[in-house]
């Protein structure tokens, strides 16, 4: 089925409202939707609900032969499934769902696989003979925008939650996989928590660009461009995708990244906490209840939201009530265009001479407008990573000082 065409009315209504500082669901520009992470009965099955977007991730493992080039490393593969169940316009039939699946898969592979946050060497059973292969299957159950964030969160939580069975290697080299009953399963070892944060860029006018975090499906359809940052709270940027015909100033990108790091910290803590909590309750229960008690229906979720909105009776949901909400103090300053002269944080951030900065900004814009060329994007990712290393250090100091206040 074809996707419903976007009417002029929807487009103008959304951009006009964003210009007035309003989103359809009354969120702040840099406010995320409610996030719920719940785990299934098995190890490594995790469902993430982000507003009305629902994603299910399942990790499975098997013993395979390692690659000849890396004989002592395990394997990790990530597959995304988008079916008409997620949204009626998506094509049925597994992974071959076109550009959307490819883009999503690429972001996830860069964030989780290429960032090497998972210690693949710990998955080795016998070098050159047998290693574990972990496979993450991500199924999108409902598509209401921001699939990158939701599926990244689900995949990471599922991987952290996953326990593989213990193995017994006998002297003649035979490998026996032991069942969970005979010996306790082994947890996966993940050093870092990769996080993905998406921003929609809506441009009501040519020279004005507003940044919306955690876009819904309608916002994603109307937006001119998008900024998807893969990062972790330790200060590494693992991927940066910036498709769409939009030019951003360097300060704006830096502001976004700065905000993304703060958000990453919150998400990482949330994921870790959720996994720990679940593993703890699992240890005490003899039969985990799984999704049965935790998942709410769409109707119930909407009902809760409305009741919540009525109870609070304010414009935006206060920060303390939603675990996923973002600190609000930055909110008014970020979406608007910054005047670098008045902004002290900006001056602290940019320590290069002016001419260098200008040339870099233009380079960023130049590489940004070319959406189809992936190579350029990767190149840019590395550029940003290299030259932002020192800046990230500063951000950390800034961040902690702000947190203390």
């Amino acid at each position: 089925m074809k996707e419903t065409p976007l009417s002029t009315c929807e487009r103008t209504a959304l951009t006009d409202m964003v210009e007035c500082g309003l989103r359809h669901d009354r969120r702040g520009f840099l406010e995320a939707r409610d996030t719920t992470i719940s785990f299934g009965r098995e190890y490594g099955s995790c469902s993430v609900i982000l507003g009305e977007t629902r994603v299910l991730a399942q990790v499975t493992c098997e013993v395979v032969e390692p690659r000849a080039s890396r004989p002592s490393e395990g394997k990790l593969s990530i597959a995304v499934h988008l079916s008409p169940m997620a949204a009626p316009h998506l094509e049925p039939g597994g992974g071959g769902g076109g550009a959307e699946v490819d883009a999503l898969q690429q972001v996830l592979e860069r964030n989780i696989k290429e960032s090497r946050c998972l210690d693949l060497e710990s998955l080795c059973i016998r070098a050159e003979e047998s290693v574990w292969q972990l496979r993450v299957d991500i199924t999108v159950l409902n598509h209401d925008g921001n699939l990158c964030d939701a599926s990244n969160m689900a995949a990471v939580a599922a991987l952290r939650h996953f326990h593989r069975p213990d193995v017994l290697v006998e002297e003649d080299g035979r490998v026996t996989v032991l069942s969970h009953a005979t010996s306790p399963p082994v947890p996966t070892f993940m050093r870092k928590v990769p996080v993905c944060v998406s921003y929609a860029l809506v441009c009501p006018q040519e020279d004005k660009c507003l940044v919306l975090m955690d876009p819904t499906h309608v916002e994603e359809r109307v937006m001119t461009g998008k900024l998807v940052a893969g990062l972790n709270p330790h200060g590494d940027i693992t991927s940066l995708v910036f498709p769409g015909r939009v030019a951003l100033k360097k300060e704006q990108i830096m502001k976004c990244l700065e905000h993304a790091f703060r958000r990453a910290k919150i998400i990482a803590e949330m994921v870790q906490q959720a996994v720990e909590d679940d593993l703890q309750t699992r240890a005490t229960e003899d039969r985990p209840s799984g999704f049965r008690d935790k998942l709410v229906s769409d109707e119930e979720y909407k009902r809760q939201r409305f009741t919540h909105l009525m109870a609070t009776k304010v414009l935006t949901i206060p920060t303390e009530s939603t675990e996923a909400a973002v600190p609000m103090e930055e909110e008014p300053s970020v979406p608007k265009e910054q005047d670098p002269a008045n902004d002290s944080t900006n001056n602290e951030l940019v320590d290069d001479p002016d001419d260098l900065e200008e040339s870099r900004t233009s380079a960023v814009i130049a590489s940004v407008t070319k959406t189809s060329k992936n190579k350029k994007k990767v190149k840019k990712t590395k550029d940003v990573k290299m030259d932002s290393d020192s800046e990230e250090e500063q951000q950390h100091t800034l961040l902690t000082s702000q947190d203390l206040q």
Binding site: P5, S7, A13, M17, L22, R26, F306, K313
Partner: protein
Amino acid sequence: MGSDFRAPDLSEGDPTVVLPGDLILEYDPEKTQDRIFLGPGLRWQDKTITATKCGLLRKTPKKIYFIDSQQKRYVPEKRDFVVGIILKKRGDFYMIDIGASMAATISYLSFENASKKTRTELDVGDLIYGKLIVANKHMDPELVCIDSYDRAMGMGRLPDGGILFTVPLHVARLLIKPDNPFLHNISKKITYTIVVGLNGRVWVKTAREGEMVAVMNAILLLEVMSMEEANKKVLKVLESFI
């Protein structure tokens, strides 16, 4: 089939639950002078009317029978008022998306005061409010924007501005029920223009953007709340949004 035939009680206010295949009524237009109209979920075949969907059987005072079921997907039905989006021009027709499996068409002559010389110009992406006059199984549905006296009666291109959103079909039917005070309750707080299509598309326009969002969210309430509850809470919702 004939032996267990039991015509449901069609008295107002107490709808019966019907399942697909249930016999509703025997109707032979040659024998009786009564004229009845069939709405969504009913089929007339071999002089009997059977249900094709499960839901509540309803009858309006004007003898329109239909089955009220909960669904989001629109199936075109003759005489339905719908909100469509212009897809493209094709010769003397515009192609329109009404949310159904097939695109609908509208001739440029089926607008008020339209002639070969003064034709209504519509752009791709415009919204249009019209009535379905052809809705058959194997044909493209066709819309008109005039009634049988060539008057617009509120139909035609929707003005610029406003906000469009989609609700489940039963919510759309609920909204336009004549005895429903819900829209009236909203108007106590906000002055607004609303167009409800039976295909679940609702268009709202108010003077200010904030009010549009408030009305939109108030209407979206109906999806998760019963009518009485929603009526009680609507003003509170509007207050919390403005």
